[in-house]
Symmetry: C2
């Protein structure tokens, strides 16, 4: 029977999961592929690295031991980061080895280089685990929906922020306290910047947009905003309005142009994404061909992510030498649709002096910019009065122009809270 050797870079959370699933499911994998797939070498830079579940003979600190081993045809990169990982992936691809990775930042920042190298060598570069963990969104987009003309990819693609927003909504606790609790429970990292700031979600959306729209989208093409400015006050106001806050990745195709962004948004309580709790992820795909498809599941975790890596390994192993290989499918070169021209709904909270004429001035400025108010509620009085507005859909440029002038009013204090509203009819 044909043998396929795996070279694994990194034996951390996901890497050890891959090792475990390869061992445990060796029989099933052989039956599914007709080949014997075994872990042949594991790279860890610390020469003293050891794990009870890992044969020390497999360990190496030299990438060359993997690169130069002719029995290794698939390199699985799970070390993360964008320096050594880029170097290793490029060298593996150029040496004619297939690469499977979970490294979303590397793909979102250096995708062009990597996909070109893979194309040139005629090898596979697979990255299901880089997007939504165990949920095979990339396979579905690449293989099942080729003729479906997907026009929106929209969803919750970061588990840490979803856990935090769920906790804020349930307990009424503020951002800082919830973050501490998430760190204590292992849902947020010691340095949570990439998650809470939206960069993690932005990298995933860049990857999903590239695959869905067949046009290269890099991290630089995805403006992102995280949840650090979301306060328990806004979550409470949202709840009274029947809205739930989520960090959304939104990729839209509008008349042949792409708009890909990450921002916190309010969704109606009845929206299926509003019910996605805790560290789960969910992605909606819409198309004229099938209306909408939703995929839901754990977005992270050792075994779920490892399961996606194994799915990629099996896909690679199941192809034979000489098959047609198309990795990114980025055969279009679509322009981007400017954020300023996107039409959005907004929630806005202003702290105002409760003086006669404030409401009139705010309304007048919105009116001058063609922004129409759907509802306006004033709470409290005196220095602490709050104005909570829901606006009708409006070109974002008009909204932000009005907001700038409103923020400059002497009766308006501090920074206004702005949250988009999505998923309404």
């Amino acid at each position: 029977m044909d043998k396929v050797g795996i070279g694994l870079l990194g034996y951390g959370t996901v890497g050890s999961g891959v090792g475990k699933l390869l061992r445990k499911n060796a029989g099933d994998i052989t039956l599914a592929t007709g080949k014997q797939v075994t872990l042949r070498r594991v790279l860890e830079k610390d020469p003293g690295f050891s794990r009870p579940d890992l044969d020390p003979a497999l360990l190496t600190t030299r990438f060359e031991d993997i690169l130069e081993d002719p029995a290794i045809s698939v390199v699985v990169e799970l070390i993360g980061g964008t320096d050594a990982a880029l170097d290793f992936q490029l060298r593996a691809l150029k040496a004619g080895k297939h690469v499977v990775t979970a490294n979303k930042q590397l793909l979102a920042q250096h995708g062009a280089e990597l996909f070109d190298a893979a194309e040139e060598s005629g090898v596979h570069l697979r990255f299901e685990a880089s997007a939504v963990g165990a949920v095979p969104v990339i396979k579905v987009l690449r293989e099942s929906l080729v003729a479906a003309e997907v026009n929106t990819v929209f969803g919750i693609v970061n588990g840490t922020t979803n856990y935090m927003l769920s906790a804020m909504a349930e307990t009424g606790a503020d951002y800082g306290d919830v973050l501490k609790e998430a760190q204590r429970l292992g849902y947020a990292e010691a340095d949570p910047t990439e998650d809470v700031g939206g960069k993690d979600a932005a990298a995933k959306m860049a990857i999903l947009s590239s695959i869905a729209f067949h046009s290269r989208t890099g991290l630089d093409d995805v403006p992102f905003e995280g949840i650090t400015k979301i306060s328990s006050t806004d979550i409470a106001h949202g709840a009274r309005l029947g809205l739930v806050a989520k960090l959304l990745g939104v990729a839209k195709l509008i008349d042949g142009r792409m708009n890909v962004r990450v921002y916190p948004a309010f969704l109606p309580q009845a929206h299926p994404l509003a019910g996605v709790k805790g560290a789960y992820n969910a992605v909606f795909l819409t198309s004229d061909a099938f209306d909408e498809i939703m995929l839901f599941g754990p977005g992270a975790g050792s075994i779920p992510t490892a399961s996606a890596v194994i799915g990629d390994i099996i896909s690679v192993v199941n192809t034979v030498k000489g098959s047609f290989v198309r990795n990114c499918l980025c055969y279009k070169d679509l322009p981007f649709f400017p954020d300023a021209d996107m039409v959005s709904r907004f929630y806005l909270r202003l702290r105002v002096m409760d003086r006669p004429g404030v409401l009139a001035r705010v309304s007048a400025l919105f009116g001058e910019h063609g922004v129409s108010i759907r509802s306006m509620v004033q709470e409290g009085g005196g220095d602490e009065a709050e104005l909570v507005l829901l606006l009708h859909p409006v070109r974002e440029a008009q909204f932000f122009a009005a907001l700038q002038q409103i923020s400059a009013l002497s009766d308006v204090h501090g920074e206004p809270a702005v949250i988009r509203v999505e998923g309404e009819a």
Copy 2:
């Protein structure tokens, strides 16, 4: 460029959708596969058949024109039924042509024969459109979750009944009226037996169970019950108890044995499947590796189903001659777990005479069979009194033994209404 000719059997709802998508997305398909995929021949038995969107030169009434055309390498069977379709598929497979089909009854009833023929010729037999329409559950199970050891497949796999149950819950209308309305709107066929009786869902669950558990499951292995006995009375009682009625397909792996069934069940209102409305389908997959994944989308319709067919065509075209082909992956031969030993929760409605001692007798008979009552509500009085019970989880054999004796009581009238309760903690 390599050319791939498609022979299409049947140009009805789905077939014309396939023709449309092949034409409309020819460029995308070529870019994704490196091959030119074209519709070469269409079989329709009526010699006078014509459609404005179909080149009459492609039409034939003779299957041999497709079978003997060396330029046709993929046969797409969309005529349905189990007679001619079986003959055509077998002959195509034996002639070394790949087959793509949406024919769930044929696969569920003659899967063994078909998969053997495909295996022998080393060709693909693909059937994504036979399960959940546009939602690629089979691809996800076959290719992404090979090492995930899926242990439950559970969901709403029939759109007609889901539309009807949704309508009954929303309007309070009775089964007969809702069926008439569904037929008028095209959600139910003139002869709705396969849908409302559960046979359509059972065939899909047989296919999903075969793929998920790697062990052949045929229609005969799937006891099914439809929604014909569901009354507006039970739906109303359910609503008061916070429960929503759905027709569920449930495939479970219990200690290496399979139990696959279709039955109407109550779900808590907060359960994600309870929110699946209208003609949508949704499937939950659970596993130790990833907890749960849900896939949701349109379960039928011309273009959604055609989109799944195109996905299969692309998968087939993307493999090269000599690749490893494993179609069903049914390499295990698992026994079935007896229904009688399954542990379930039940909702039960009895019509009783409101006489002293009735409740005591019912409770006593349940007690004798080890069935524990969670709640019991009596409504009305006299001849029309109704007893609505929710029971704690119980071996089904015990429940049905008790029920038989309870039904035989002289104070109990008519047939009891029995609905399983799923999805509770």
